[in-house]
């Protein structure tokens, strides 16, 4: 059932041609939420009445010849740290109890103008400070393919909602990998655009230096539609796939391949073999200080998060989940001089990723070193070693939050247990990245 899901773009063509109505599609999404979400817990707020009204309006406009483009009438969701006027923005925290957004965030306004139908606000790791969604005032999100596992985080509700066919796409945030990690764990496409490309006004912040907003969906074509809309393009244009033969991709093996689950590594190498057969040139590259990324990340992201939360840590500490509160409290001890050192590290890594991309069309590496993680686990086995869940899940994605390069994940096969693996593509500019992704998307997946 899950494998038969159609993409946003396919659905859009059906709505635009009149083969299906937005109202009928939206109703099916709401039915699936009612049937499936008690087991998955993807949604914090379901906007059933509002979605039905938006869908009816979309059908009327399209029938009258006033199509707003490919998102018109398409049911989507928003991670519940993105303001949508008239609805709560909980950030999955009791700290924000009683909050109701007075206006749309910039991204919600752009999606609304494009005619998207908002079916609800999705669950997340509290304040996006974690990668499993276990620390949420609304309870953990469960992986739709195996309810004992996490769908990854922090945008886990978004990924689970798409995989459960409760919506056709979702908008998430990514400060250390929070779009790419759940997308990889759920076999979806997820894009972290270039830093600063999508406005974050009206989004609950975590780290102003590393926060990014982007889409989770089912295909590169869907990603391009959503990315252009989020970037303010009122009429998204199709992305033209690059010529496959002669594409030149760098594969950064040092650091990035030293801690990989054997099945994740195998799926990636198989995808590389298919790409080379198709004429793609893969070259090993190095990012000399990649191993410094975790320390750089901690000393920049966490003080910024602590600054955002200082007031409520003092006034209502009991309203945070225990783990998130402790992590924010820890962050308050980081010294200013070490924040400056971290920012210097950001410059070093940025220069090194630029150098690795020089003369190439992108970098290719795994997204998440392990398959979807069992809920409640503190560590995960990676080959012969036991690694902390937080560190291993962020390991391959956070370097590109530090550098700000656009990065996206695409599915590249499954483990023997049927859990998805993801391949990460990193580029210089987001539209170029999407052109390359469009070329390699089908080859990454085994037939």
């Amino acid at each position: 059932m899950l494998a038969e899901s159609v993409s946003l773009a396919e659905l859009s063509r059906s709505i635009q041609s009149g083969a299906v109505s937005s109202e009928a599609v939206t109703e099916r999404c709401l039915e699936r939420i009612a049937q499936r979400d008690s087991a998955v817990n993807a949604f914090i707020t379901v906007l059933a009445d509002e979605a039905r009204a938006q869908a009816r309006a979309a059908d009327q406009e399209i029938a009258a010849g006033r199509s707003r483009g490919p998102l018109h009438g398409v049911p989507i969701s928003l991670k519940d740290l993105i303001d949508l006027r008239g609805t709560p923005t909980s950030a999955a925290s009791r700290v924000r109890r009683g909050h109701v957004a007075a206006r749309d965030s910039v991204v919600a306004a752009r999606l609304r103008a494009a005619g998207a139908v908002f079916v609800g606000k999705t669950n997340l790791h509290e304040f996006a400070l974690g990668t499993t969604n276990e620390d949420s005032a609304y309870g953990p999100v469960h992986h739709p393919l195996d309810h004992s596992r996490s769908p990854g985080g922090s945008s886990g509700g978004s990924a689970a909602a798409i995989l459960s066919e409760m919506c056709y796409a979702s908008i998430g945030s990514d400060t250390g990998g929070s779009i790419r990690i759940p997308s990889a764990a759920c076999g979806l496409v997820g894009l972290k655009p270039a830093f600063g490309e999508i406005p974050i006004d009206g989004v609950v912040p975590l780290s102003r230096t590393f926060d990014h907003i982007g889409p989770l969906c089912r295909s590169v074509e869907d990603t391009a539609i959503l990315h252009q809309t989020l970037a303010g393009e009122s009429r998204p244009a199709p992305v033209t796939a690059r010529e496959l033969r002669g594409l030149r991709l760098g594969v950064p093996r040092a650091y990035f391949f030293t801690l990989l689950d054997p099945e994740i590594a195998a799926r990636f190498e198989e995808a590389c073999a298919r790409l080379m057969t198709a004429g793609v040139i893969l070259e090993e590259v190095t990012i000399p200080h990649a191993a410094d990324a975790p320390a750089i990340y901690v000393h920049v992201a966490l003080p910024e998060a602590a600054a955002c939360h200082a007031q409520t840590l003092e006034s209502q500490p009991q309203d945070y989940t225990p783990n998130v509160r402790l992590r924010l409290e820890m962050a308050r001890y980081i010294m200013g001089e070490d924040y400056v050192r971290g920012m210097r590290g950001r410059d070093v890594l940025t220069r090194e990723v630029n150098a690795a991309l020089h003369g190439r069309d992108g970098l290719l590496l795994p997204t998440l070193p392990v398959p979807a993680i069992t809920l409640g686990a503190a560590t995960v086995a990676v080959g012969a070693s036991e690694e902390p869940v937080r560190a291993i899940t962020l390991r391959l994605t956070q370097p590109f939050n530090i550098t700000g390069h656009p990065a996206m994940t695409m599915p590249c096969g499954r483990t023997a247990e049927g859990l998805p693996a993801g391949a990460q593509l990193v580029g210089k500019q987001t539209l170029d990245l999407l052109s390359v992704a469009s070329a390699i998307e089908r080859i990454l997946q085994p037939t």
Binding site: E284, I287, D292, D338, R341, R344, G345, A355
Partner: protein, 58 residues
């Protein structure tokens, strides 16, 4: 302030604030801070960044 001095003060403060669960996190943070300060590009924070070769292909 050395990392050792910082950690000693931070642990004492965690005790004062009756947050014992914070202490393992602070110990982990101290290791991360030590790694950050030991990075070769950080040995002279006031200096220019080291040159990055334009090409890293092997």
């Amino acid at each position: 302030m050395t990392i050792e001095e910082w950690l000693e003060n931070a642990l004492r403060d965690a005790d004062r604030r009756e947050l014992p669960a914070l202490k393992p996190l602070l110990e982990g943070l101290a290791k991360s801070t030590a790694a950050l300060r030991a990075a070769d590009w950080n040995l002279d924070v006031s200096g220019e960044l080291p040159e990055t070769p334009p090409e890293h292909a092997r």
